[in-house]
Subunit: 162 residues, 4 copies
């Protein structure tokens, strides 16, 4: 009987975030862990730390793909620190290592991750994050979610076939 | 007497583009060259090729920062091919090597370059390109231009102090 | 009581290797896992696959930091595939993510990893691998080991303080 | 009548170097420029700066592919600064952007560039630099040169067909 395929889901957002964003991120992290998904993130503070904290609290695995040159920059809930040494070019690795990306809030770094994901054909689910239009036409590639449960449901159900 | 500082301006956009976008890109390339700026781009086809063609026709210098492993992928108007071997992580180098970025149309790769530029504090000028909003609030960081002349004027005048 | 610090040890070598090299790699992987270390590698075949196979057989955790654009290139024993999309620039991430590196045989890619490790102050232990001299003076930075047990002992004991 | 193909030759070596190494690098830079080649380097001090100084003094073009986040780190003789933002992963771009590499002295960073070049099938010529052996067998892939003239002759003649 084949093992059920493991899900890697990225949570992206700012290294400094508001309290409501941290709550969202922690809830998303908890739910991903409960449902057996592995959390991928950029390994730093803010949304990334809150997400790792949530996942860890439920016994989930947390991967932090770091921009700098050593693992000390990782937040304390990262279990698997990946030290890339390539700066913000690591944003590409954060999204490519996941089957789906959940964006929570976020600034331009998050937007670069959303862009790299969409360019790579990786599903992006958004919670209070960027919205896009091109030549004044809305681009609806970011799938909206109203709350953590909906975000996690969409991330897992829409990638179930992969 | 100090030499006048050289301007490096990036033109970004899709590797495949419409005829009107190619015209815009070629005109921007021509005007940058006439005004002594060096053109930086991703080195491939579409908007990048049209921009290099325009700059070359006016005797300008063209730099193409390529994603792949050899220079043969460069369009024929690239004089300085940089072969990075790092895939789309090279998008970061395209914008960081410029004092300002002019975005023409573009898809998600272009959006990642816009994001990396804004994250790095590099001016972005847009011609028929993406517009952004965050949490339903418009983000006006991309400076709009109506035509090639306005785009080049803004790119050069707003970075004159750097 | 503080948790014992987790060791991340990289095993590096060619994507295609001889049977004796594969045996060495598998033995090193097994012993690292038995001693609680996490295995980091480049995620592909040859030495990397043999090392992951050995570690997996003892219940160890295996991380594969891949050069390409999707996780399908990972060998079947990689549990945590990291998809970098940056080609051989990922060699830097392989060594920087470890406290020590064990090199087994290897060609120029392996030599680049040895170099990046030594440049970053990361311990390198060699099993039948490169030796270096500079201006005709031997450089003894690669710590030799005669067999897998010695390699693992040195990797773990010499980084115990970190 | 086809234009004669332009040569891009990389000079690699330490960011801090001895006076004799700087003399070698400056002489190599001068001769490359006189013979119409474009100089590629890592853009920093030491061997890189001396090489750029030599090339500039003969009217040559100098490209500096920088590891960091802005062009201010470039030595004053770099005419085309490429700002990669990817740290020492830029070593890959330095060698891949050239048809041949001339290594002068150098430490582990230089050795990583030599390795990446040999892995990519790019010719490496050595002046007082590393020598390699693998499993106690000498590896003669680095082509030795006794002086700057011989290094430049070999770099240009052996890549003339490319």
């Amino acid at each position: 009987m084949p093992e059920k395929k493991k899900r890697f889901i990225a949570i992206i957002g700012s290294g400094q975030c508001s309290a409501p964003e941290a709550e969202l991120a922690e809830a998303v992290g908890r739910q991903l862990a409960r449902r057996g998904a592995t959390l991928v993130c950029g390994g730093l503070g803010g949304v990334m730390e809150a997400a790792c904290k949530g996942a860890s609290s439920e016994g989930g695995v947390t991967i932090g793909i770091l921009p700098g040159d050593n693992y000390h920059a990782a937040n304390p809930y990262v279990q698997i620190p990946i030290v890339t040494g390539i700066g913000y070019a690591r944003n590409l690795a954060v999204v490519k290592s996941a089957q789906a990306v959940i964006a929570i809030g976020g600034s331009y770094g998050t937007l670069s991750e959303i862009s790299h994901a969409l360019q790579s054909g990786i599903l992006v689910i958004g919670l209070n994050t960027w919205s896009l239009s091109r030549n004044d036409q809305p681009d609806n590639s970011i799938i909206p979610a109203q709350n953590p449960t909906e975000a996690v449901n969409k991330a897992l159900s829409l990638t179930a076939h992969q």
